[in-house]
């Protein structure tokens, strides 16, 4: 087991495996997104209170979940890279940031598009919305900080510290609807009691969520590959790879 985990620390091994991961995650992603979209837009009945506007949930909620999940991936990977100086973890952390920022942006934008017809306002300074906006700034701050250093590894280390400090925001986002009196509705899925959402509405949401997850891992691997090539530009395995690539891989 240890050996199995250990080999992922090798940039070359990680690079080789990433092709399979990005391909299969991409396949699963397309299948689940198509099923989720069909279920969410066609099969699920309109909400008895919100009508068809509730269908934004299938974009909004998975995006919001992913915005937090990706942040944890980034922070944990950054933390590991700080402690053990593993290059692959630095690469994963910095590759995850733009994806996390995208999901955060989507959560905010679709939330706004949902808030307008339901609350009558594009934006309110409520705890949930504000903490999610701070998350977007954390991502952007991380990306700016990491790229501000001449040396990649110093930048990754500085970014990892920022990411770890910012972790405090994640529980704030999650519990904001319970701690403060907010306009945002409470959790309907991640409750200890059974979810207060009908199965025909819940299943497409879970399908979309799996699709989002696979999309994230698929694109994360593509981004990580590019980063690894940059990190290891002078390594012999990269030189060998580039030399004999013409016939094997059509990148």
């Amino acid at each position: 087991m240890y050996k199995w985990i250990h080999q992922f620390g090798s940039p070359k091994y990680f690079y080789d495996v990433s092709f399979r991961v990005s391909f299969w995650c991409g396949v699963v992603c397309v299948i689940f997104l198509l099923a989720g979209l069909y279920g969410g837009l066609v099969l699920a009945p309109a909400d008895y209170q919100q009508g068809d506007s509730f269908r934004i949930i299938y974009i909004h909620v998975p995006s919001a979940w992913m915005s937090m999940f990706v942040y944890m991936v980034m922070a944990v990977s950054g933390g590991i890279s700080l402690i053990w100086r593993i290059k692959v973890n630095e690469v994963i952390a910095r590759s995850a940031a733009p994806l996390g920022a995208s999901f955060t942006f989507l959560a905010l934008a679709t939330g706004s598009l949902w808030g307008k017809p339901m609350w009558g306002a594009w934006w309110v300074w409520d705890a949930r919305l504000t903490s999610e906006l701070i998350l977007l700034f954390l991502y952007l701050g991380y990306m700016a900080l990491v790229s501000a250093f001449e040396d990649r590894r110093t930048g990754a280390r500085a970014g990892a510290i920022l990411a770890l400090v910012g972790v405090v925001n994640i529980p704030i986002i999650h519990y904001s609807v319970e701690w403060w009196n907010t306009l945002h509705q409470g959790p309907t899925v991640t409750k200890f009691s059974s979810p207060s959402i009908h199965t025909s509405m819940l299943i497409p949401l879970l399908l979309m969520w799996i699709g989002f997850m696979c999309y994230f891992f698929s694109v994360l691997m593509i981004r990580a590959r590019a980063e690894i090539l940059e990190y290891e530009a002078n390594a012999s395995w990269v030189r060998d790879l580039v030399n004999q690539s013409a016939k094997r891989r059509s990148i």
Binding site: V42, A109, V242, I251
Partner: protein, 50 residues
């Protein structure tokens, strides 16, 4: 359900379709730029070695 009804989304068509459109755009752009970056770096490495 007719196509028109589907696109109308009970009067919320603008909000629903803008959300889905924005999402699709962000997903596609993310994939596109990530792939482009990978290819770009690969090309640079190739030039440097040859």
């Amino acid at each position: 359900m007719s196509m028109q009804e589907f696109l109308h989304m009970g009067g919320y068509g603008f909000y629903v379709w803008t959300s889905y459109g924005l999402w699709a755009l962000v997903m596609v752009l993310n994939l596109y730029f990530s792939r482009a970056r990978e290819k770009n770096i690969y090309r640079k490495l190739k030039q440097r070695i040859q």
